[in-house]
């Protein structure tokens, strides 16, 4: 356990370093904007003085490293500045929109793991056969379309032609759930409103499934590939020589050891989902970070762009930390790295 904590501390340090790098990168990108952001924010009718005043407020008249210094100082106080689009603190905006996006991504992640890994396992067990080829085609199709295309197709099929699922939104308007965490699934349980919970789940399913399809495909392909490799290992033959049932060998001898290399990539797929959520949210009118993100990008709202990207990157780094932790827990080599022989 000590080894795991040590490893985690190391990863946390690296992640912090990387996040600092991300902030520099995004800050750099945001400051090469052609045109004066103050002018864009105030519109064409503002006077020169008004523009200069806002530019000074935003420290736009100072050298870029001083601007970055201001940014870091604000960040250390938990401030990301004021959004020129909403005229509210960026942190407030993000706190309002992020939970809806995270809820969507988390459910999609669960679908990805819950469907993708078993599909890959079945394909590997029947490798070379019909089932394997079927899974290969399905998972290749899954990764071959952007999630907004799946969103459109699923919506047409299961919301319009077969009206099984709702077309838009997070929950029906008849449910008024008190805002505690912003996660409707959590808030509805806190309020003890199980019907609201079910309703929120019902709204979540189609967008989450559309979002997860490429992840499902990736996870299935990866699991299959790693398992097929593991199936060549001597301990599989040994397990066979002991006459263990084929499914037991698949689960305990081929799947579990090959889960470790698969997990790293699954972490990356999770990252991709944080971005792809933007595409699905647009189709299902999901009140998440997407509309806000696109709006602030189109309006060149510097503080909001930097803040949004930083928060998403932080969420991604946290997801990867969790993956690292899981790997350490699954892999005895890491867990017991420092215990004596």
């Amino acid at each position: 356990m000590k080894a795991v904590l040590g490893l985690l501390a190391g990863r946390l340090a690296i992640s912090t370093l990387v996040l600092a790098g991300v902030s520099v990168l995004i800050f750099g990108i945001a400051r090469v904007i052609p045109g004066n952001p103050a002018r864009i924010a105030l519109g064409p009718n503002a006077t020169k003085e008004q523009v200069a005043k806002l530019a000074a407020e935003l420290h736009l008249d100072e050298p870029i490293w001083i601007q970055y210094g201001h940014f870091v100082r604000d960040l250390s106080r938990g401030e990301l500045g004021i959004s020129l689009y909403t005229n509210r603190p960026v942190t407030t905006d993000i706190a309002q929109f992020l939970p809806a996006t995270l809820e969507l991504v988390l459910i999609a992640g669960i679908l990805m793991i819950g469907i993708g890994l078993p599909l890959g396992m079945v394909a590997a067990k029947y490798r070379g056969g019909f089932v394997d080829n079927l899974v290969r085609i399905v998972s290749l199709l899954g990764v071959s379309a952007p999630s907004f295309v799946w969103a459109v197709i699923l919506m047409l099929l299961f919301a319009f032609y077969l009206p099984l699922f709702p077309i838009a939104g997070r929950i029906d308007t008849e449910f008024a759930i008190e805002h505690v965490t912003g996660f409707l699934l959590v808030d509805s349980l806190i309020a003890g409103e199980f019907r609201a919970f079910g309703n929120a789940m019902w709204h979540l399913f189609l967008p989450a499934f559309a979002l997860s399809l490429s992840g499902i495909g990736q996870a299935a392909r990866l699991t299959r590939a790693n398992m097929v490799e593991t199936y060549e290992k001597p301990y599989i033959e040994m397990a066979r020589s002991y006459g263990f049932p084929a499914w037991r060998i698949a689960r305990r001898y081929a799947f579990k050891p090959s889960l470790i290399p698969s997990l790293t990539i699954i972490g990356l797929d999770f990252a991709a989902m944080l971005g792809n959520a933007f595409l699905v949210e647009a189709i299902f009118a999901w009140p998440g970070l997407s509309r806000y993100g696109v709006a602030v990008i189109l309006r060149k709202d510097l503080n909001a762009i930097v803040g949004t990207v930083l928060i998403i990157s932080a969420a991604f780094l946290i997801a990867n930390l969790i993956v690292d932790l899981l790997i350490a827990l699954l892999n005895p080599r890491i867990r017991y790295a420092r215990s004596a022989r």
């Binding site: 033959e237 040994m238 579990k256 080599r333 022989r341």
Partner: protein, 293 residues
């Protein structure tokens, strides 16, 4: 004649490739009497490991494999059994020791879990505690001084020799009547290999198990086995009691193998002159020594 532990007659086996079919066994016949230790000796690629896997029934389920001939285990025809029946034999009546002990144990489970799985083959409801109670004396038989520490360990935490002993104990804990040993310990260094072979010999004698010992190394085989089959490119070229084969090797290939025995036991795969035409000489059979088979 007593009922054989293992009797293989005219076993032919080929692998179907994309374009052609490769025949790897051209009619192998061999037998192992109860409690007898028989060696199958040949170079890598001679078909000895394939024979072992065919006996275990590990190849029959593969689509690319074509097999004919007869394999009888304790008088029962393996081909006549369902795959479920064959599976039931493995790990209980029939078990196998593999070449590389470290990679043959599952890296993500503790030794005790893996032992427990093996014991469940005989007694599906056995608890971990009962299993450990049965494993401890077995581990001390293979000279493992701290059985509990070893049971708690993962394979990578133990040395190669230790893993090898664990594997031997695992193979014998269900009291199989036939043990197949595929180049045991070749992956280990020479002294460790020697120790483990002695250990294995003592154990199989005590447990009255028959052994089919597969090796490329005649030096090791001489110390270990009662009888020898020499296999070359899928054919048995010479067979007989160990002493007789060593005293008077009849087949050119056997003579070449003997000339290539490393001075100390173990070492690398012997280098043998390519002399295929001479090796096609007819099979040499030595008269069985009195009292055996």
């Amino acid at each position: 004649m007593t009922r054989m532990a293992l009797e293989i007659s005219d076993l032919r086996l080929s692998f179907e490739g994309i374009t052609e079919t490769t025949e790897v066994l051209h009619g192998i016949s061999l037998s192992v009497a109860p409690e007898e230790r028989v060696a199958l000796v040949g170079e890598s690629g001679s078909g000895k490991s394939v024979t072992a896997r065919a006996v275990l029934g590990l190849l029959q389920s593969q689509k690319r494999v074509r097999m004919s001939g007869r394999i009888e285990f304790e008088g029962q025809d393996l081909a006549a059994m369902t795959s479920r029946q064959r599976q039931a034999l493995r790990g209980s009546r029939l078990s196998m020791i593999f070449q590389d002990p470290v990679s043959s144990l599952n890296p993500v489970y503790r030794i005790q879990t893996q032992f427990h799985e093996v014991l469940k083959r005989d007694d599906p409801s056995i608890s971990l505690e009962d299993a450990k109670r049965r494993i401890r004396p077995m581990l001390s038989e293979v000279s493992i001084a701290e059985p509990d520490r070893v049971l708690e360990s993962f394979p990578f935490q133990l040395s190669g020799g230790m893993n090898q002993r664990v594997m031997i104990a695992m193979a014998l804990i269900n009291e199989p009547s036939l043990l197949i040993a595929d180049e045991p310990g070749t992956a280990l260094d020479v002294t460790v290999q020697d120790q483990t072979l002695r250990l294995m010999r003592r154990l199989v004698e005590r447990r009255r198990a028959a052994v089919l010992f597969i090796s490329h190394n005649l030096g090791i085989v001489r110390e270990f086995s009662d009888r020898i089959y020499v296999i070359h490119t899928g054919r048995i070229v010479e067979e007989g009691p160990t002493d007789a084969v060593f005293a008077n090797p009849g087949h050119p290939y056997t003579r070449a193998l003997l000339a290539a025995v490393p001075r100390i036991t173990g070492g690398d795969i012997p280098e043998i002159d390519e002399n295929p035409s001479a090796y096609e000489a007819p099979r040499v059979v030595h008269a069985p020594a009195a009292g055996v088979a």
